[in-house]
C-alpha cells in the first residue's frame, strides 16, 4: 500500500458502508460519495448507482421528480446528505447560520425520511460545521453514519447520539472532541480507520476515476490529475 489522497480514503470508507445495499442515489455536487459508489459498483456489478444530475447516461427519464418518487416507494436504499451545519441530534441545516445564507434544503427534508440508509457526509470537520444545535432544521432523521474528513461516527437511534467509530490518519479521540461542537460516545482507545487496500487504490485509479471525471471534472483533475 502506497500513499493515498484523503479523498481516496473517504471513498473507500463509503464503499464499505454500502455493504448489502442494492441501489444508492446521489444528489447535487457529491464527488466523494460518487467515487465511493462507483468503487462499490466495480466489485459488485448488481449494485445500482443513480446520479441525479448526470450529464451523460442519466438514469432518469421522468425528470427530476423520479428520484423522489423512487425513494417514496422504497426503491432506493442509500442516499447521501450533508449540511452547512450538522448537530449532535443528527439534524441538518442547509439554509442559514450566523447571518450567512447557504444554497437551501434541496430534497433533504424528504429523502432523510424516505430512504432507509442515509449517510451524512461532510469533508470539513470543525466546530463551525458540527454544532451542538443547528440554527435551522432543513431535515431530521436517523442516519446510518456520519463521515467527515477526520472521522467516522455511527448513530445510536435509541440514545439519539453519535458514537465515534474510527479516526482517519492518526487523529486522536481528544483531537476529534476538540474539533466537534457536540458531545458523542466513544471507545477507548479509539480505532483507526483502515487505510485503502492496494486493490481499492488500483480500482479507484483505473476504472472509478474515469466514471467520476465525466460528472466531476474539476474533482477528478484535483485528485487523480485526469482531464
Amino acid at each position: 500500500m502506497g500513499s493515498y489522497a484523503p479523498e481516496e480514503l473517504l471513498a473507500c470508507v463509503i464503499a464499505r458502508l454500502l455493504e448489502g445495499a442494492r441501489h444508492a442515489a446521489i444528489g447535487a455536487s457529491s464527488p466523494i460519495p460518487a467515487s465511493g459508489c462507483f468503487l462499490r459498483k466495480v466489485s459488485d456489478p448488481s449494485f445500482r448507482v443513480s446520479l441525479q444530475q448526470r450529464r451523460a447516461h442519466n438514469p432518469f427519464s421522468e425528470g427530476s421528480r423520479e428520484l423522489f418518487d423512487l425513494a417514496g416507494q422504497g426503491r432506493i436504499d442509500v442516499f447521501f446528505l450533508g449540511g452547512a451545519q450538522i448537530d449532535g441530534a443528527a439534524n441538518l441545516n442547509l439554509v442559514r447560520a450566523e447571518g450567512r445564507r447557504f444554497p437551501g434544503s434541496f430534497g433533504s427534508a424528504y429523502m432523510y425520511r424516505a430512504v432507509p440508509r442515509v449517510i451524512l457526509f461532510r469533508e470539513e470537520h470543525s466546530r463551525r460545521v458540527l454544532v451542538p444545535k443547528v440554527e435551522f432544521v432543513s431535515a431530521a432523521g436517523d442516519p446510518a453514519a456520519l463521515l467527515t474528513g477526520k472521522a467516522l461516527f455511527s448513530w445510536q437511534k435509541d440514545k439519539r447520539r453519535f458514537r465515534l467509530e474510527s479516526v482517519h490518519g492518526g487523529a486522536s479521540e481528544a483531537g476529534i472532541r476538540e474539533l466537534t461542537g457536540f458531545d458523542f460516545d466513544s471507545d477507548s482507545p479509539v480505532k483507526s480507520t483502515p487505510p485503502p487496500s492496494t486493490e481499492e487504490l488500483s480500482l479507484l485509479r483505473s476504472k472509478v476515476c474515469r466514471e467520476v471525471a465525466a460528472d466531476y471534472p474539476d474533482f477528478a483533475k484535483k485528485v487523480w490529475g485526469i482531464h
Partner: protein, 264 residues
C-alpha cells in the same frame, strides 16, 4: 418571433418557473430580460435554481424566489443570490424538491393541493402557511406560475417543442398559464406524428410562443448537442463574488449584444 419579442411578453412582477442549470435553461431569454430591465420578477425553481436566477438577482430584476436551493453546482455558491439574501434585499420562500414537483402537479391536474411524503422534523413548514401537516403527510398548495420558460431542442411547424427526458419542464408547462420557449433548431412537420419523438414533446396546447435561439442555453448545456461551458461558469462564479465584478460581467456578456450570445 424573436427572443427579444419573447422577453417583451413578460411583464414586471410575473411569476416565472425556471429549470435548474442541468435542464435546458433559456439563457438567451434571461439575458434579454436583464437588458429590458425587468423588475419585481418572482422566480420559482423547478425544483432548484442556478445561473439564470443568480444573473437576474444580481441585475436587480427579482423581488422574490421560491426554491429548494440556488447553486452553481461544481462552481459553488450562487454569489449574487447569497449576497442579496444576506443583505435583506431578496425574499426567499424555502421549499424542498418533492414539494415543488407536487405543487406543480396539483396545478397540472387542476386541484388545489397535493400530498407529499413525510418531512417530519423539518423547520421548512414553519415558514409555509400554504403547507399543511396531515399526520405524517404534507399537503402542499398548488403553484400556478404565470410563465414557464425553457430552451427546447426543437420546435416544429405545428407549434410543438421537444424537451426529451426533461419532464419537469413538461410539468412546469402544464402548470403555467403560458409557456414561452426558445429553441435550438426548427423541425419540419408535426413531432406528435412521430412515435419516437412524441413522448418528449410539450404540445402546442401549452406553448404560447417560441423563438429560434441557436446555442441559446449557453453557457449551460444541451445534452447531446453541446456541453456546459464549465470554464465560463466558474469564471462567472469568481467575478460575481463582488458587485463590481458582477457588473463587469454584465457589461461584457449580457448588456453588449455582440458578445451576449455564445462564442463561435
Amino acid at each position: 418571433m424573436t427572443v427579444e419579442e419573447l422577453a417583451g411578453r413578460i411583464p414586471d412582477g410575473a411569476l416565472l418557473a425556471l429549470p435548474p442549470d442541468y435542464s435546458l435553461v433559456a439563457m438567451d431569454l434571461i439575458r434579454f430580460l436583464i437588458r429590458r430591465k425587468s423588475r419585481g420578477l418572482r422566480l420559482l425553481g423547478v425544483p432548484i435554481l442556478g445561473l439564470s436566477a443568480d444573473l437576474l438577482i444580481g441585475a436587480g430584476c427579482v423581488a422574490e424566489v421560491e426554491t429548494s436551493a440556488v447553486s452553481l453546482g461544481e462552481a459553488g455558491l450562487a454569489p449574487r443570490f447569497t449576497e442579496a439574501v444576506e443583505s435583506g434585499s431578496l425574499k426567499v420562500r424555502d421549499a424542498t424538491c418533492p414539494a415543488i414537483h407536487a405543487a406543480l402537479q396539483a396545478s397540472e391536474k387542476g386541484v388545489p393541493f397535493m400530498p407529499v411524503g413525510s418531512i417530519a422534523g423539518s423547520d421548512l413548514p414553519k415558514n409555509r402557511p400554504d403547507w399543511k401537516q396531515d399526520g405524517e403527510i404534507l399537503q402542499v398548495a398548488a403553484i400556478r406560475p404565470d410563465f414557464a420558460l425553457f430552451h427546447a431542442r426543437w420546435a416544429d411547424e405545428a407549434g410543438n417543442v421537444w424537451i426529451g427526458r426533461r419532464r419537469e419542464l413538461a410539468t412546469a408547462a402544464h402548470a403555467a398559464r403560458e409557456t414561452l420557449v426558445t429553441f435550438e433548431e426548427r423541425r419540419e412537420g408535426d413531432m406528435l406524428e412521430d412515435e419516437l419523438l412524441a413522448p418528449g414533446v410539450v404540445s402546442s396546447v401549452y406553448v404560447r410562443a417560441a423563438a429560434h435561439a441557436p446555442r441559446g442555453a449557453w453557457p449551460l448545456g444541451m445534452p447531446g448537442v453541446y456541453g456546459a461551458d464549465d470554464v465560463h461558469v466558474s469564471q462567472y462564479a469568481k467575478a460575481a463574488r463582488t458587485r463590481e465584478g458582477f457588473q463587469r460581467y454584465l457589461e461584457e456578456w449580457v448588456l453588449t449584444p455582440r458578445k451576449s450570445s455564445s462564442p463561435a
